[in-house]
């Protein structure tokens, strides 16, 4: 382990983290902090409202705030656990949205920004192969950034529960029996961790597509990467509209454009089950805690051709990005 942390490749990952800790880490915790702040504001509003209306607030239960909390929650622990789990999930969902934008723009700039500011000449003066450089960027996008996001989600969730505990405690409720005994954050949290490898392999076509344009173009990688597939999609639609032979519209947008641009969204592999009623059924009938998918469902993705065709295309694009990184010499 120690030797691994001191390997040159580990230093390449650290270097990516140093450059992007603002987006990888800070953006995540700022957003989480905003959500927690909103929770606190909500509690204060409930208290103030409760005091003004003579302790007669209705929050889905009848009676005073105290009664509501005491009767409602202690009698309906199932609902409580679901509520707590969905809090974790909402943190997860918000972090996923943030992660999508962070990783998307990270990849677009990964092999472009240092060409623009010429610092590529410094990186290239070191005994590091271009293959190692590019793979470090792939790993940063698909492993490092998601792990940081999951850690922030768990930390934010724990802080949120502490806030809730204080609130419950202030109303004479025992937060240990009510919250901490029921909280199953670790099972839901482990789901988030377990999803990382599935997300990572599923993301490869988008990772490859964005890195390819990042390495290949002289300027404006965003325009190339985003407008080429969109214009192609519109043209294909138009060709279909005038009745000429064309690629199936749904396939084009979903399996080509979508996979090229959106596969870095965590959990987007669930789209593979969109035509599978039994899997969809499983999804809708799950309790909130399992909503990110069962382990079986997650890893079943590895048995679908979508996963591997996408991965193969992604790896080919990454190989092309490495080639461009090696031989583009306009600087």
């Amino acid at each position: 382990m120690n030797a691994m942390l001191k390997s040159p490749f580990a230093w390449l990952l650290k270097r990516e983290y140093w450059e992007h800790r603002r987006s990888f880490l800070r953006t995540q915790w700022v957003v989480a902090a905003v959500v927690i702040a909103l929770t606190i504001l909500g509690i204060i509003a409930a208290e103030v409202w409760g005091a003004r209306t003579g302790n007669n607030i209705q929050i889905g239960f009848s009676g005073s705030l105290n009664d509501a909390l005491q009767n409602g929650l202690s009698q309906n622990t199932d609902a409580l656990v679901r509520g707590l789990d969905s809090m974790l999930l909402s943190f997860g969902l918000i972090a996923s949205i943030v992660l999508f934008f962070v990783v998307f723009f990270y990849l677009l700039g990964a092999l472009y920004d240092d060409r623009r500011d010429r610092s590529i000449l410094f990186w290239k003066s070191l005994p590091v192969s271009d293959t190692a450089t590019v793979i470090a960027k792939v790993v940063s996008a698909t492993v490092v950034a998601p792990i940081i996001a999951v850690i922030v989600v768990l930390a934010a969730y724990i802080v949120q529960q502490i806030v809730m505990s204080i609130w419950f405690g202030a109303h004479g409720l025992n937060p240990f029996t009510l919250i901490w005994a029921h909280v199953g954050p670790f099972s839901t949290w482990l789901h988030l961790v377990a999803a990382i490898p599935v997300d990572a392999v599923w993301a490869l076509p988008t990772v490859g597509w964005l890195l390819f344009w990042s390495a290949a173009v002289r300027s404006k990688p965003f325009l190339w990467a985003v407008f080429i597939p969109i214009i192609a999609g519109v043209l294909n639609f138009w060709v279909g509209l005038i009745g000429l032979p064309h690629v199936n519209i749904g396939f084009f947008w979903g399996d080509l454009v979508g996979r090229a641009l959106l596969s870095v969204f965590p959990g987007s592999w669930m789209a593979v089950y969109r035509n599978d009623p039994s899997m969809l059924n499983q999804l809708t009938n799950m309790s909130a805690g399992e909503h990110v998918g069962t382990y079986g469902m997650m890893y079943h993705t590895f048995l679908t051709p979508d996963m591997w065709i996408g991965a193969a295309v992604g790896i080919a694009l990454i190989a092309a990005a490495i080639w461009f990184r090696r031989w583009r010499d306009e600087v």
Binding site: W11, W18, P127
Partner: protein
């Protein structure tokens, strides 16, 4: 020559013959879409030399360096430390360092991070040495490159590069845009703390006056070809400058000078290649030409 440059003395060098070949180029050619940046250039660089690769803009200097560093594809034969830079770049970069232009350090990096990173990926980097060099500057560990002046960035880059035990150091316009204090300090450090008989430095620069006192070898490049390859000793023996009075100008012209330019009091300066010293002595006072005068004389008509 200005006083600042004069205090930098050319180091004692081993004889050019018999030293190990560091760079060997034969028919080195690089064509871009409409022009050849390198057109069959031939040159050798031996170990323990400080070589100036000097030429006008667009002559192919940077392309030659990029080929040596494996940053570009090329035709012809090129071996650097016996390796092919196209195929063995990562191995080659263990033994070769370069500072390409000023301010190519990433702007977000901190001094400490730069040192940690290079220490992590470069097997021949000596951290203690680097920190010793940095202790002489005003740089501090937490400082970001974006907070530094151009001169400070070069100080950091040079401290890193000098702490790497490399065989070949390539410098492409390393002091462009720096003030005289930084420029002076840059070359002084290179000579005092870095250069020895096992190292080789290859420099391109427009500021010829500042490096000519440290060079041991000269390569002039023009239109993608090497037009002059000489040691400084040979250059002194081969080229001569004579300050000629107006009455002897015709005689001086008869000896087929490379160049003629006006000097003060109606005198003229003539530059000769391989002329007979006795004949020259009869014309006037003989001087060793400066590299810049030789450069200007041999490159005449380049931009015409």
């Amino acid at each position: 020559m200005n006083a600042a440059a004069e205090s930098i003395e050319r180091p004692a060098t081993p004889p050019a013959t018999g030293s190990e070949t560091i760079v060997h180029a034969q028919g080195l050619t690089k064509r871009y879409k409409n022009a050849a940046a390198l057109d069959g250039a031939n040159f050798e660089v031996g170990s323990g030399r400080i070589v100036g690769l000097i030429g006008p803009n667009g002559a192919g200097k940077t392309t030659a360096l990029k080929a040596i560093l494996g940053l570009t594809d090329f035709e012809g034969e090129l071996k650097v430390l016996g390796m092919d830079p196209r195929k063995q770049r990562p191995q080659l970069m263990r033994e070769v360092c370069f500072i390409a232009d000023v301010a190519t350090l990433p702007r977000w990096i901190r001094v400490q991070e730069a040192i940690d990173f290079v220490a992590g990926v470069h097997p021949r980097f000596d951290r203690a040495k680097c920190e010793r060099f940095l202790a002489r500057t005003k740089l501090y560990a937490n400082q970001k490159v974006r907070e530094m002046s151009k001169g400070m960035i070069v100080q950091l880059h040079l401290a890193i590069v000098m702490a790497i035990d490399a065989r070949l150091l390539v410098l492409d316009e390393p002091t462009l845009g720096l003030d005289i204090l930084y420029r002076k300090q840059f070359y002084q450090s290179l000579l005092e703390d870095y250069f020895d008989e096992n190292k080789t430095i290859l420099i391109t620069t427009h500021q010829v006056e500042e490096v000519e006192h440290i060079l041991t070898d000269l390569l002039f490049i023009r239109d993608g070809k090497i037009t002059l390859s000489t040691t400084m000793e040979e250059m002194g023996a081969r080229f001569a400058e004579v300050l000629v009075n107006a009455d002897k100008v015709e005689a001086a012209r008869a000896l087929k000078p490379l160049d003629e330019r006006a000097a003060v009091f109606g005198k003229s300066v003539f530059l000769y290649d391989s002329a007979d010293p006795e004949q020259l002595a009869r014309l006037g006072e003989i001087k060793r030409p400066s590299v810049s005068d030789l450069f200007v004389a041999t490159m005449k008509g380049t931009y015409a």
